[in-house]
Subunit: 164 residues, 2 copies
DNA sequence: GACAATTACATAACATGTTATATAAGAAGT
DNA sequence: ACTTCTTATATAACATGTTATGTAATTGTC
């Protein structure tokens, strides 16, 4: 077995390691979403959640809320618009702004998500992380090992009928 | 100020949050590398470190060591080859394999890195994280706030003459 | 020893982020 | 009111990862 250098180098490669772990968790999260037939890339979820929680928002507001740059937000919003999950209309007072709101379809999806998929994901991730308590690097190691031991998906309590 | 939804949602968006934070740290790390005139994208660093530590490796070995997929490794190795930092030669025993080793220029860069930039980066990241100890989410919050408070670069002890 | 399975790398298509920069609308100063 | 500054979004170019799939070399089987 080849040594895991990123893990080994500790603080020196923390950025790479966090990113890698985040990507892994996002991918696993995607699988749980799929199980719930929520056909949406997991990166788009925070946007829907933001609009759900904060109400209709401009693109810039969403970028700040989700923590990505404005071009990133613009693109994701375009994708959500293509999927008919959000409605984008120029603001009345300020023609530069675009106000993004959930369509009926979008609200529906959020409702289903909130009821089933989100609790499942949260439960799975909590199961993975909640009892951790030491220094950061040790916790990361524990999470990495934990994911190998049992993928997030297995830790999710399916609210739908599981396919065994 | 718009609320940070990813932070707010806790375990539900942990993947996104880790990834985002990792990207941020990588970007900051890049700036420290630049300060030391190590003109190399920070994502390529783990590959050089792996070869330095483990000796010449095949592309597949490097992919495992660094924790990316094989196509990812292939591309990064091609870039490093273009920069003349590594040498790629087909293996003698097995023509499918390619063995990647450091060139003189590559060894040089690693040596400089080890002496100056790496300790600076490690120091900065340690300064950011080492006293953290609670649950994961709290530590992440502390790191995010810490980076806003004082960017990684300021936490790095420059080994070169600082440009003050 | 020929054929099938496996392994190692390459390539294509795409996801998701970034920085840099353009464009158009609004705000401000004279 | 006109020019200038600023702000909101769009677009382009690129970084860095992924999955899916192709191709060539090696291994294993009859």
């Amino acid at each position: 077995m080849t040594e895991d250098i990123v893990r080994r180098l500790g603080y020196l490669t923390l950025g790479t390691r966090l990113r890698r772990l985040g990507e892994r968790i996002q991918a696993d999260t995607q699988r749980i979403l799929d199980d719930h037939e929520l056909a949406i890339p997991s990166a788009q979820f925070p946007f829907l959640a933001a609009i759900d929680r904060l109400g209709p928002q401009t693109i810039g507001d969403l970028a700040r809320a989700v923590g990505v740059t404005q071009p990133g937000a613009t693109r994701t919003i375009l994708q959500l618009e293509e999927s008919k999950l959000v409605l984008v209309v120029p603001s009345d007072e300020d023609q530069r702004r675009k106000v993004v709101s959930l369509t009926a379809k979008g609200k529906d999806l959020v409702m289903v998500g909130k009821r089933a998929a989100w609790p499942a994901i949260e439960h799975a991730v909590r199961d993975l992380c909640h009892k951790l308590n030491g220094p950061l690097l040790d916790q990361l190691t524990a999470i990495e090992d934990g994911l190998i031991d049992q993928p997030l998906r297995h830790r999710a309590k399916l609210k739908k009928e599981p396919n065994t």
